[in-house]
């Protein structure tokens, strides 16, 4: 977590072994959520503030539960019900929170780089919970955790990520993390929604989903963001589903044991058909479960006072 040792702002540039270690720690936390008493006293006396300037259900709930299961005090702050509505700047909002001595700020913001900017105005550790089109590091970590549960290793895996790649912070964080861990990442989506810079990571990019799914061990579908439909970039929902949606026929191109993933929320019948989303290859709800464990591991590492050796 580098200069930002005490923050988790992005996957890009992190050390592979530190991230693997984080996944290992998350294994232990994973068990805690399955016990009758789902709580350990580890972060007693620490304060975590969830600052969500953008809508979110699972990420916010997941961070909140992660903090609470570690006995931290967790406060939720949502952009739509706060002084941000009255015109307060991000800087002033962060400074206001800082005055209450939080230990961790979990920030989701529509602007890329907002969590990084926030680090200038707080002594708390900052976790990026999704910033604009930049990164969503904990999503990538929980995806990697889920893949490791399913496949044990990343070596030799072919992982297809399909959808609106250009606007997806999930795709970006995953492209970095999964290639670091040794998997082969291929991406597919409408040509208008494919960024060029990902090829530099060794990611192969396709304009059709079929060649990406061919022989895949994992098919990760991304949500098609409704707000982008109907414009110049994309035709209609139906058109998208027909060309790019994951259905049984397309899934048959992948390996027999191909794992189906989706970061949620899903648009049933658009990027993924209900029979596939609810099918036995789908681990969509396992991803949600993994999310709490991974975020517990992140909060714990950030609250430790000394860096790892």
């Amino acid at each position: 977590m580098s200069d930002e040792r005490r923050h988790l702002l992005q996957i890009e540039g992190q050390k592979t072994e530190e991230l693997v270690q984080l996944l290992d720690v998350a294994e232990t936390f994973f068990q805690i959520s399955r016990r009758a008493v789902k709580k350990v006293p580890t972060l007693r006396g620490k304060t975590v503030i969830n600052m969500f300037f953008e809508a979110s259900t699972r990420t916010r709930t997941s961070f909140e539960l992660a903090g609470k299961r570690l006995s931290a005090d967790v406060i939720n702050f949502s952009g739509s019900t706060s002084s941000t509505k009255k015109g307060e700047t991000l800087r002033d909002t962060i400074a206001t929170m800082e005055a209450m001595h939080p230990d961790v700020l979990v920030i989701r913001h529509g602007a890329s780089g907002a969590p990084h900017h926030a680090t200038n105005y707080t002594k708390a550790a900052v976790v990026n919970a999704g910033d604009g089109m930049h990164e969503h590091p904990t999503q990538a970590l929980l995806d990697a955790f889920t893949i490791r549960q399913q496949k044990k290793t990343f070596e030799g895996l072919r992982i297809a990520i399909c959808g609106d790649i250009a606007h997806s912070r999930v795709a970006r964080s995953n492209a970095h993390l999964l290639t670091m861990l040794g998997a082969e990442v291929v991406m597919a989506g409408p040509g208008t929604l494919m960024p060029v810079e990902l090829e530099a990571l060794g990611v192969k990019v396709h304009n059709r989903v079929e060649p990406a799914l061919e022989g895949a061990d994992v098919a990760m579908m991304l949500r098609i963001q409704q707000e982008r439909l109907g414009g110049a970039l994309l035709p209609s929902t139906r058109e998208y589903a027909r060309q790019f949606g994951l259905n049984r026929e397309r899934l048959a191109l992948a390996k027999d044991d191909c794992t189906v993933m989706h970061p949620g929320p899903i648009n049933r019948g658009v990027e993924i058909n209900p029979d596939v989303a609810d099918g036995d290859r789908s681990v969509i709800l396992d991803q949600v479960e993994a999310g709490v464990a991974v975020r517990m591991a992140v909060l714990w590492q950030l609250c430790a006072e000394e860096p790892l050796p």
Binding site: V25, T28, V37, P41, T42, K46, A304, E306
Partner: protein, 176 residues
Amino acid sequence: MGDRDVLVAPDAVAEGLERIAKEIIDREPDDEVFLVGIRRGGEPVAQHLARAIGRRTGRIVKVGLVDITLYRDDAATALPSPRIGPSHVPFAIERQRVVLVDDVLYTGRTIRAALDALLDFGRPRRIELCVIADRGGRELPIQPDYLVAKTDVDDGQRVEVTVSDERFQVVSTPKK
């Protein structure tokens, strides 16, 4: 091994553990007892004791494990250890008799943490404590119910239990 002194030799530890197995049974001969080892040092000791008790009673003694990392009173400031392992208590401890097992008893803080960890799995009828070596230096009011040996070392020494081939011995080495 240079400056490593053997405080309690393997034979004496083995004899002590046999005596403890009998004491544990004698205290409540008719009721089932569960052993819970504290990771990582207590784990092989608990396994060994379970076999010793089993040989005497003819019943299989169940063994659980607790990892105390997350329950330490300095957990938030300690280094996150990639070696924290899961606690594993594969039986319901509710209303049961449990013997907590560790290798060395020192400040008592590990035991305090282990009690908290164990109580998150349920409410046992009674928890007893068994250790191989008690080196003194307690910082909390915690004492063992079953003990192989007290050791007499000064603060600069570290007391450890080493194990090979199910043979335990208590040694002291200089603290780094």
